[in-house]
Symmetry: C2
Subunit: 425 residues, 2 copies
């Protein structure tokens, strides 16, 4: 075949986009994968970078490297600034225009403050590697500031941490932060006792890990409390400032507030000019196509789709991978003339969440467990799914070390204050 092959544009190198590109390896197409970063990120371990357990490169791999042997893919590092769904064209920030025959939009989600964008300054969220490094810096600096503080109230405020949002990310951050305060920093300060730090997890709903069965939510709460986290349920945060937050009618002093309460879809969805749901996601058809544009698909966190059981497909990595692979299947069927696959159905293999040192919850449907066994299960699954042999080995080594020493490998403050050599100008 000497004719020009149809071009599939994929926007986003996350789980949905990358798995779609791989599933089209042997298809008679020319793929362009566009991402504004140069790497695929293993987002489930992002909280470990934020809490200084892993380095940024441990959980990321260059997209070019992952796809170097797949000759029908071209990787473009660029930001999409416009989509013309009718003319089938994408505009990139480097001035280039990309025409496509098929488009998969998989640009994911970002954190959202639900109309309180002024909170972003005081309560950063966690979606990217840069977010994680900023958060790491903020958490480690809080203990430094507490040590330097002379006023007892100021010192207490620096030792007061709040995580807003009791989903998986909030629970992971709160549990790990409590471990850092109680164990990792032991003996290192002379004026403060890091173990006296208060770590609060603030959830507006009635329980943490709302996606899990109620008994596992209760287990998770107990495990968090055992690690030293104070869990507040049923009351939403009303305001966040640089000095603390308002819960109900009370102001709680806390110099460090982290936002883990909500996500909104990538703004690229709005460029399609089709109906979006409340969170900004694209309401796709059962084949993940966009209404009115049969050659445009949406997958991953940006897609909104109901399952047969009346619940939405969850915004988790396995769903994104399955969606990416499914779209590849649909495109192959169209091109090769085979039967279209049946409507997308999410296969739910279970749900895991880690809480902290040797604490996790696992929901495999009929089988549910928590505690140490769940933690080992979580660890094996996450290391197994990490891309790249080297990353797995390094991550395992870091965890083995953290487990025995209670230490964290990446407690390095980067950014303006993190300069070497030492105190100068």
């Amino acid at each position: 075949m000497t004719a020009v092959r149809p071009r599939v544009a994929i926007v986003g190198g996350g789980f949905a986009g990358l798995w779609a590109a791989r599933a089209l390896a042997s298809a008679p197409v020319e793929i362009v994968l566009v991402d504004r970063g140069n790497h695929h990120l293993f987002q489930p371990l992002l909280y470990q970078v934020a809490t200084a357990g892993l380095s940024a490169p441990d959980i990321a791999a260059p997209l070019r490297h992952i796809l170097r042997k797949q000759k029908n893919v071209e990787v473009r590092m660029a930001t999409v600034i416009g989509i013309d769904a009718g003319a089938k064209r994408i505009a990139l920030d480097d001035g280039d225009t990309l025409e496509f025959d098929y488009l998969l939009l998989a640009s994911g989600a970002t954190h959202a403050y639900f109309g309180n964008d002024q909170w972003a300054r005081h309560a950063p969220g966690l979606k990217t590697l840069d977010d994680a490094l900023d958060l790491r810096r903020k958490l480690l600096l809080a203990f430094e500031r507490a040590e330097a503080a002379t006023d007892p109230a100021e010192r207490a405020a620096w030792l007061s941490f709040a995580i807003v949002g009791g989903g998986p990310t909030g629970v992971e951050l709160a549990g790990t932060l409590a471990e850092i305060a109680r164990h990792t920093l032991k003996d290192e300060f002379r004026r403060i006792d890091p173990a006296s730090a208060r770590v609060r997890l603030v959830e507006a709903g009635p329980r943490v890990l709302a996606a899990f069965p109620e008994d596992l939510s209760a287990q998770a709460k107990r495990q968090l409390e055992k690690l030293g986290v104070e869990v507040s349920l049923g009351t939403p945060v009303k305001d966040i400032t640089s000095d603390g937050y308002v819960l109900g009618d009370a102001f709680v002093p806390a110099k460090t507030v982290v936002w883990a309460a909500g996500v909104a879809a990538s703004p690229l969805g709005a460029m399609l000019g089709v109906p979006l749901d409340r969170a900004g996601r694209v309401q796709v058809r059962p084949d993940l196509g966009v209404p009115g544009h049969p050659d445009i698909f949406v997958a991953g966190d940006l897609a909104s789709l109901m399952q047969a059981n009346g619940r939405p497909v969850p915004g988790v990595a396995p769903a994104a991978k399955q969606m990416g692979r499914y779209v590849a299947q649909v495109i192959r069927a169209r091109l090769l003339g085979g039967a279209s696959p049946p409507p997308f159905a999410y296969k739910d293999y279970g749900n895991l969440a880690t809480i902290g040192r040797m604490a996790a919850v696992v929901d495999l449907g009929r089988l549910r467990f928590s505690g140490l066994l769940a933690w080992w299960f979580w660890l094996v699954m996450h290391v197994f799914f990490l891309i790249g042999f080297r990353n797995r080995l390094v991550v395992l080594l870091n965890w083995w070390w953290a487990y025995w020493s209670y230490q964290r490998a990446a407690r390095i403050i980067l950014g303006d204050d993190g300069r070497e050599p030492s105190a100068s100008e």
Copy 2:
């Protein structure tokens, strides 16, 4: 003894400051170690972070953690904004004032442009972890920009790299960059051939690695050329812009220029109000004391001292460690009434420089060698001196992996363009 112990203030947690603090572990003093960062940095491997071989936390460790068991040390993360040598007081940027009985100033050096500060924007240097991450980003982005470029001249300029300065840092960067272009990025791009990149090392003097004997300099040049580096000797760079540099009368297009040509002492030396040498270093007495201030010492890259052989003590890690330990010895003798140690004498155990994959030069005085054996020697010595068991293991693992796969573990672009998930706003 219930009297208040004399206070030793140490400014800078590099090799000089940290080794001094450790050597005072059993002395009847109260030590305050001030650093503007939170970590000790193993600077000899900084170029590996810049060239994506290692993660920032691989070559750094929190000062608090290193010194946690030494109860007579307090670590302060702060920037020194003033020194009153007469009143024996230091002013910190957090508003605190620190009185001292003895002061060791060991705040090191930074890179210098010798009156051409406008070059800093176009040709960044390499002294801190933040510098290294910025440089990594710049090097990796250059290949991305070349891939996106449509104009052949622009593409060539993005594939043109220059390292200014043929000292150890310049040689390491040039050799490693050539390896990245020729091997690491193989097969990853579709429009450019990374191996066609030109890596130039520009040295104003007559040879590279001027601190080494002439035969090893010649060896190093040959090894660089074998790795694909074009070495230019004897002509200084006259100007640097965003598009290239001027060498002699010729403008050489190069979108990426790195500055490895000069260091200047930390500006803190000037706060002492004593004579400085041309590079801003403090001219210390044979006991490393500051003229006119017998209780103030300077060690490491900030100190200027002639050896008995008429050559200055070099600005290398072993000299800084020896100076730090020596100052501790002087202070102990003063306090405990023992004999003062003889004037400081630098013990030169040899000089190593690495060039690239399996290439290095070693000068142990009578014994000199280069090539693969030198590279292994260099590797063993550097891993051995790395602080912390975990760091050594992780660094070895990364190198073992790099050696076999030609890959680099940390090829992740961090900063504004490195956001995940993918292309959006």
